[in-house]
């Protein structure tokens, strides 16, 4: 750990007409990671993002980005943060390039600097060839990618993407996911909200699950996965040519192994730590042909369902 926390909320609360939408939310996002904000519709994801950006005033509590209070210093926050709204829209009669140029101007980026930047950003989202076409000819997926380009033009330190993949076809989703995965390398932390667990699992380092405005659980994805699957322990799958009871005996003796189950040619081993090296060594030494050793994959569904039901 020891990572710098750059997005932080403390007891953030918001209510609309007496209905509490976000309820004493404490959220922390570390620098240069992809953070997935999960939760069903109406859990308060969008409201949380709006409050973090200073677009909506919280009823109580604080939201901070790089130490700047989102409510009191919204301009400083908006200079650092990019935002892709759920229903992103552009000026239909302007071209992709003109739309981005307007945003660059609003961010006080000079012409000399913005022109090559816009070209580069459009190319990186795969819209280089349609840069001079008006936006009303764009498909939903292209608009969404233009939305990401729009966020990137201002070179944000942190990007908030609200449901960036909603309403896209599988190919469109993959393109967006690839783009998101590359952002931390360019020095941009990503916070994105979604309710598609699979894509969150693909790119996120950490997740937070929201339910009825409350944070149900948050943390690093792999830790949470192990938590849900084996109460914090590792599950290792060992596939051999022919597992013998003898081999099981050997494995059980390795320090840290708590349980070994055989299912056909596959052994499911529950351990306290990542013991793949020790286990494979033991298998090879016992003379059995080893096919593969891997840490059993958990799916985010497991995590989601586990904590989500706890919340109810």
């Amino acid at each position: 750990m020891g990572k710098k926390i750059i997005v932080k909320t403390e007891d953030l609360t918001k209510d609309y007409d007496g209905v509490t939408v976000v309820d004493h939310l404490n959220l922390q996002v570390a620098e240069n990671e992809v953070f997935g904000l999960l939760g069903p519709n109406g859990a308060g994801k969008t409201t949380t993002i709006l409050m973090l950006l200073g677009l909506t005033e919280p009823a109580s509590g604080t939201a901070q980005i790089y130490g700047f209070d989102s409510t009191r210093q919204p301009l400083k926050v908006k200079r650092l943060a990019g935002y892709l709204p759920e229903k992103v829209g552009f000026y239909d009669t302007l071209t992709a390039k003109e739309n981005l140029r307007f945003i660059a101007e609003l961010n006080n980026i000079g012409r000399a600097e913005s022109e090559p930047l816009i070209e580069e950003v459009l190319k990186s989202v795969g819209l280089g060839e349609v840069a001079d076409k008006t936006v009303n000819k764009f498909s939903r997926g292209m608009k969404q990618r233009l939305g990401i380009a729009d966020v990137l033009v201002k070179k944000p330190k942190v990007a908030f993407l609200d449901e960036p993949t909603a309403g896209l076809d599988p190919e469109g989703i993959n393109q967006i996911i690839d783009l998101i995965a590359n952002l931390p390398k360019m020095g941009t932390t990503v916070v994105f909200s979604s309710h598609r667990l699979y894509e969150v699992q693909q790119v996120c380092h950490s997740i937070g699950i929201l339910s009825k405005g409350k944070m149900v659980i948050q943390g690093a994805l792999d830790e949470l996965g192990r938590d849900a699957l084996a109460e914090g322990r590792f599950r290792i799958e060992v596939e051999t040519a022919e597992p013998s009871p003898q081999l099981i005996g050997v494995i059980k003796k390795i320090k840290g192994v708590s349980k070994v189950e055989a299912k056909g040619n596959v052994l499911h081993i529950t351990t306290d730590a990542d013991l793949r090296a020790e286990i494979s060594k033991a298998v090879v030494q016992s003379g059995v042909a080893l096919t593969q050793v891997k840490i059993e994959e958990f799916s985010l569904d497991d995590i989601y369902m586990k904590y989500f039901h706890e919340a109810d």
Binding site: L55, D92, K154
Partner: protein, 298 residues
């Protein structure tokens, strides 16, 4: 804010809406020139400067001032009715507000861009009519006439700004474009109806009204349309001396010579102030509501 102003202006000038409005402006100019062409001969017999009469002559066709009084509200409403909720429904509003700009510069930029567009349109009508008129009658305007026309131009822009402010106010208040277009239009039609139509109804409830021209005038002056008409008449017809309580005996004993510039201004000052005030009120309300409004679209 300058960035937004520039972008809005570029938007207006390239939009079909503005093209149609400019066509309307051109048509109005030609109607006014036609009216002036046919009426100027008789009108020039009356006392007062000649050039300025170009704008107020009615001969079969409405004069320029009548046309402007009709057109300017349409232009104002057309420019303002989708200012905020148009951006909101197209999803561009929250994208812009997430940029490092103050929220008020969005609405200020839009308002200013509208005023600039309107000033160009009204200026174009006045210059077209003035220019053709000059060719037609060959009498150049005096310095005082130019000042009168300029003040008229300013008050027409303020009048237009009022209608645009009203339209922007509704575009802040309502999410639906149809509603924000209908409301200012309804108000425009309501105020466009001569106040005298309402007098029987009002006097039914408040009997004192029918007896007093002063009270009737006060009621009529609620309408920005009436205020603007009064201002126009005094500014562009220098012999006009005032309103209301002039009986036939007093008008009969008045000399039919034109008033000086400052005297005309003095008469019309309350009207101009009132126009400016209602414009400011409209804009202020939309500004305050917009600043406090929730940004989320759902």
């Amino acid at each position: 804010m300058l960035t937004i102003l520039r972008k809005e202006l570029a938007d207006y000038f390239t939009s079909i809406r503005c093209f149609v409005l400019f066509l309307l402006v051109l048509a109005a100019s030609f109607v006014a020139i036609y009216a002036a062409y046919h009426g100027i001969r008789e009108a020039s017999i009356d006392p007062g400067p000649v050039f300025i009469k170009l704008f107020t002559i009615e001969e079969d066709l409405p004069s320029l001032t009548v046309l402007i009084a009709l057109l300017v509200p349409i232009i104002g409403v057309a420019l303002g009715f989708d200012a905020i909720n148009g951006e909101r429904s197209s999803g561009t509003l929250n994208r812009i507000l997430s940029q490092p700009v103050y929220r008020d510069s969005v609405i200020n930029g839009k308002f200013l861009a509208g005023i600039v567009t309107m000033a160009i349109m009204i200026g174009a009508i006045i210059l077209i009519v003035g220019g053709y008129g000059l060719r037609m009658i060959g009498v150049p305007p005096g310095a005082e006439e130019i000042i009168r026309i300029f003040i008229y131009f300013i008050s027409a822009v303020i009048y237009g700004a009022f209608w645009m402010g009203l339209a922007i106010l509704f575009s802040v208040l309502f999410r639906s474009l149809a509603v924000s277009l209908l409301f200012p239009m309804a108000i425009w039609i309501l105020f466009g109806i001569p106040a005298s139509i309402f007098n029987p109804y009002i006097s039914f409830f408040v009997p004192a009204v029918s007896d007093s021209i002063g009270v009737q005038l006060m009621i009529a002056r609620i309408s920005p349309y009436f205020l603007f008409e009064e201002a126009t008449t005094v500014l562009l017809i220098p012999v006009w001396r005032g309103y209301g309580l002039l009986t036939s005996t007093t008008t009969g004993s008045m000399l039919p010579n034109p008033l000086s510039m400052d005297q005309s201004l003095l008469i019309v000052w309350p009207q101009l102030t009132a126009l400016l005030a209602i414009t400011a009120i409209c804009f202020a309300i939309s500004y305050i509501v917009f600043m406090r409004q929730e940004i989320r679209s759902t």
